[in-house]
Symmetry: C2
Subunit: 229 residues, 2 copies
């Protein structure tokens, strides 16, 4: 019942693509590697899967070991498997992605991560392994997903202004949006609840705050919408 | 630069979930395995990835070796990696799916496939490995996808009647649809071209034939729609 030795000289890893938003820019959580291969290079927080570990448990364990983050909802994106993507041997990697609110977490560098940092997507240059390709694919998926499902809201505070929401969509889609069309489209989805409060401590006229309607959010998350903007 | 031996005692495979439609039922292409493990059991057409083979080339090579099918557009669905999913060792598998028109292909059993057959989804009982779980996940994805993108059309002949199209959606979604609503919704997408021809050789009054508008098809495929039915 052996499958032969040749194919068993392979390994698999997980890599986490953690997107964050800080009211202006879309960012990505990267680690600086303390170990070879690619020592001192920025990389996605990833590592090999243990032999006795179910695949679905690996990305959260790895993220926790490298950054201390816990309870992050990670969704499988795609598996990458070019023959030479890892210099040490044949390693395919399963990429996961997540959206988190930067202000709600405090990642810390641990294990073979000597540094951990939120870096603006626009400023990401080269990355270790094929991580740039993985980031770009995941960013494309995020851009498709925010047009079909209201997932982007996970990047906002609990209450937010329409301008903040527009900034989020502009940062994710990397383009300016028409204010009037954007508001019309968002309000037509009946996804927002008017929380009857206003911004505080701002120099300009305070804007109305909204939260999302959790029930409607779940409906749109399962059924989808077509947010052409 | 070694990554240690423990993690390198693993392998990865690809499994293909090929959906077909024969004017009435949604079917799945299965092979009967001639080899252990799971000899004489029905399974998805899958096999190990070669050590020197890019992952993206593996599913088509495997499908061709087992069934003779070629030039099938395969899309990665998800990677499955429970610790004990394969009795011979630690094997994760990358699942791919495709939609093809049953009448346009003639699969043949080859290699360790001693039989190949289109089996109605409804009649699929147990399968080798975790292939039943993979099939069910892929079917869920297909059901989500046909509501968001016009991919289902790949299962139809080049020209088709509105009834055939409705039968396709009914078979995929496994529910009866209201004829009037269905037609209204489909026609409102302006996806169909009236080819100015009628069915031939039918006992009832021949129905109008349509094809899809390739340009509009590509637009909807990239931008999506929300087909609530």
């Amino acid at each position: 019942m052996s499958l032969g030795n040749i194919e068993f000289t392979t390994a698999f890893s997980v890599d986490n693509v953690i997107f964050g938003f800080d009211d202006a820019d879309l960012k990505i959580l990267l680690i600086k590697r303390a170990e070879e291969p690619f020592a001192n290079h920025w990389a996605l927080p990833g590592a090999l899967v243990y032999h006795d570990e179910n695949l679905r448990d690996a990305p959260m364990r790895v993220l926790k070991e490298l950054t201390g983050l816990n309870n992050v909802f990670l969704e499988q994106v795609k598996t990458f498997g070019k023959v030479n993507r890892h210099p040490s041997g044949r390693v395919i990697t399963i990429a996961y992605y997540s959206l988190i609110n930067i202000h709600k977490v405090a990642p810390q560098a641990m294990s073979f991560a000597e540094e951990v940092s939120w870096i603006k997507i626009k400023d990401v240059d080269t990355l270790a392994f094929d991580h740039k390709e993985i980031l770009e694919y995941s960013l494309d998926k995020l851009r498709r997903d925010v047009k079909l499902r209201p997932i982007g809201f996970e990047l906002l505070p609990d209450t937010f202004t329409l301008s903040q929401l527009q900034s989020l969509y502009e940062a994710v889609l990397d383009k300016e949006l028409d204010k009037r069309n954007f508001r019309k489209k968002i309000l037509s989805m009946k996804l927002l609840l008017d929380v009857k409060e206003y911004q505080q401590g701002v120099a300009h006229r305070p804007a109305k705050l909204f939260s999302f309607d959790p029930e409607r959010y779940l409906t749109l998350k399962s059924e989808g919408f077509n947010f052409e903007i």
